[in-house]
C-alpha cells in the first residue's frame, strides 16, 4: 500500500484553485437572482447568486468600480467572472468582472432606483439648468450618423436657421460601445479649442425600448451630461419616451426634431421681429419729430405774439412822444431861445449884445440882444 502524500491545507487549496482556473470564463455567463446584496466600505460588493430551481447559490464578490448598473436584491442578472477558494476563509467565491441586468422588470427596477438616487443628489434640480444661447453659431451633435435622428435634426435645423456650424460627434447610440462612445464625445466636444467649441450640445436618438435606451439611462452618461461645461439639450425618442438624460439635461426636447426647434429660433419669426423693431424705431423717431415740430410751432407763435406786443408798445410810445414833441409846439408860434447852446429860462441870463439862437417851427434865427426888460404880459 502506498503511503499517501501529505500536503498542507494551503497547498491543497492551491491545487483546487489551479483546477478552478481551468473552468473557461470567456463566452459563458451565469444567470441567477441576486440575494443578500451588500456594499462594504463603499468599495466592496458582496452578494449571493441564487439558482431559481434548486437551493443552490454562489457567493459573489466584486468591486464597486466594476458595478456599472444599479443592482438590488431580487434582480435577475448575468455575471461573468472567475472562481476561487479564498485560502484565508476557505470560502468558494466567484470574482465577478461584469454584471448585466436581465429582463424588462429588472431594468425598470434599476432605472427607477438610479432615477431616485440621482434625484436625491439634486442632479435634476431646475435651479441648475443653464440657458442656451438664443442664436448659437456652433452646435455639438452627439448621435449616430446612420440614425433617422441625425437626418431629422439637420433637416429641421436647416428649415429654421442658417449659418450654423454643426460639430458632429458620431457615436453608436445603443449596444455595448454606446456608453463609452457617448462619454468620449462629451469629452471631445468639451475639449475643443474655444473658437471651435460648440455653445450648446445636442444629444439625441430615436425612441426605443428600455433596453435600447440603456446608454441614455446609464449613470456615467447622465453624469457626463451633468458635468458638461457646455449646456446640453437632450432629445430622445418619441413624445412618450423618457430617459434619465432627459431629466438632467439643461433643456429637454421630446424628439430629435424638437431638439432642433429648441436649439435655434425660426428665421421667419426673427424676420418679422426685425421688421416690427424697425417700424417701432421709425414710429418713435417720427413721434419725436412731430413733437419737436409742434414745440417749434409753439415757440414761433410765442415769438410772434411777443413781437406783436412789442410793436403795439412802440406805437403807443410813439403816440405819447408825438404828443409831447416840442417841434409841434414851435409850429404853433412858440420859440426856443438858446444862448451858448443852452436853453434860456430867464431874460436876465443874457445881457444886451449877447448872441442868442431863436428856434422857430421852421428854422433858427441867430440874433443879438438889444435890451432886457422885465417880462410884462406876454400876450
Amino acid at each position: 500500500m502506498n503511503t499517501p502524500a501529505i500536503i498542507s491545507v494551503s497547498d491543497y487549496l492551491g491545487l483546487v484553485n489551479h483546477a478552478l482556473r481551468t473552468i473557461p470564463h470567456e463566452g459563458m455567463v451565469i444567470e441567477g437572482e441576486v440575494v443578500e446584496f451588500k456594499v462594504s466600505q463603499g468599495k466592496w460588493v458582496n452578494f449571493d447568486l441564487k439558482d431559481e430551481r434548486a437551493e443552490a447559490k454562489i457567493s459573489c464578490f466584486m468591486t464597486v468600480f466594476a458595478l456599472n448598473v444599479p443592482v438590488q436584491s431580487g434582480m435577475r442578472v448575468q455575471v461573468t467572472g472567475t472562481s476561487k477558494v479564498f485560502e484565508r476563509f476557505g470560502k468558494f467565491t466567484l470574482n465577478v468582472t461584469a454584471i448585466t441586468l436581465v429582463g424588462e422588470g429588472a431594468l425598470q427596477k434599476a432605472y427607477l432606483a438610479l432615477k431616485e438616487q440621482l434625484r436625491s443628489e439634486g442632479m435634476f434640480e431646475s435651479s441648475r439648468k443653464r440657458n442656451i444661447p438664443r442664436f448659437p453659431e456652433r452646435i455639438g451633435l452627439i448621435t449616430s450618423s446612420e440614425a433617422a435622428a441625425y437626418g431629422d435634426f439637420l433637416r429641421i435645423l436647416q428649415n429654421r436657421w442658417g449659418g450654423v456650424r454643426v460639430i458632429h460627434a458620431p457615436v453608436t447610440v445603443q449596444g455595448k460601445d454606446a456608453v463609452q462612445e457617448i462619454l468620449g464625445a462629451f469629452t471631445q466636444l468639451n475639449a475643443l479649442p474655444l473658437e471651435n467649441r460648440p455653445e450648446v450640445i445636442v444629444l439625441t436618438r430615436g425612441g426605443g425600448s428600455l433596453e435600447d435606451l440603456h446608454a441614455f439611462n446609464s449613470e456615467a452618461v447622465v453624469r457626463a451630461v451633468f458635468q458638461s461645461a457646455i449646456p446640453v439639450v437632450v432629445g430622445v425618442g418619441h413624445e412618450r419616451d423618457e430617459s434619465l438624460c432627459d431629466f438632467v439635461a439643461d433643456v429637454r426636447a421630446s424628439t430629435p426634431s424638437n431638439a432642433a426647434e429648441r436649439v435655434v429660433p425660426d428665421r421667419r419669426e426673427i424676420d418679422v421681429h426685425l421688421a416690427v423693431s424697425v417700424d417701432r424705431l421709425a414710429d418713435r423717431i417720427d413721434d419725436e419729430i412731430q413733437e419737436k415740430s409742434r414745440a417749434i410751432d409753439r415757440a414761433i407763435r410765442a415769438v410772434d405774439a411777443f413781437l406783436e406786443r412789442c410793436s403795439r408798445m412802440v406805437s403807443e410810445c410813439e403816440r405819447v412822444l408825438k404828443s409831447v414833441d416840442p417841434r409841434e409846439v414851435l409850429k404853433r408860434g412858440y420859440a426856443l431861445v438858446r444862448s451858448r447852446g443852452k436853453i434860456l429860462h430867464s431874460s436876465r441870463a443874457v445881457a444886451p449884445g449877447d448872441h442868442v439862437q431863436i428856434q422857430l417851427g421852421d428854422g433858427t434865427l441867430n440874433a443879438q440882444v438889444a435890451f432886457n426888460a422885465v417880462q410884462e404880459a406876454l400876450l
Binding site: G163, H168, D177, S277, V278, I285
Partner: protein
C-alpha cells in the same frame, strides 16, 4: 459696422436701441443717430438671416479611456 459682430451681438444691440427708444425721453440728435444704427443693424441681421446653409463637420470617433 465691425466685421466680427455676430448675429447674437447685433441682435442684442438692436434690442438695446429699441429699449432705449421706449424708456428714454428721446433726444432727437441722439435718437437719429441711434435710429440710423438700428437700421444698419436690421439690414445686417436680415442679410445674416439669408445665410441659409448650415455646415456639418464630423469629428473622428474617440473612446475615452477609463
Amino acid at each position: 459696422m465691425p466685421k466680427k459682430q455676430s448675429f447674437a451681438e447685433a441682435f442684442e444691440e438692436l434690442e438695446t436701441i429699441t429699449e432705449w427708444f421706449e424708456t428714454q425721453n428721446v433726444d432727437l440728435d441722439e435718437g437719429v443717430k441711434k435710429f440710423e444704427r438700428g437700421l444698419e443693424l436690421a439690414k445686417f441681421l436680415k442679410e445674416k438671416l439669408a445665410d441659409v446653409e448650415n455646415t456639418v463637420m464630423t469629428l473622428k470617433k474617440k473612446f475615452t479611456e477609463i
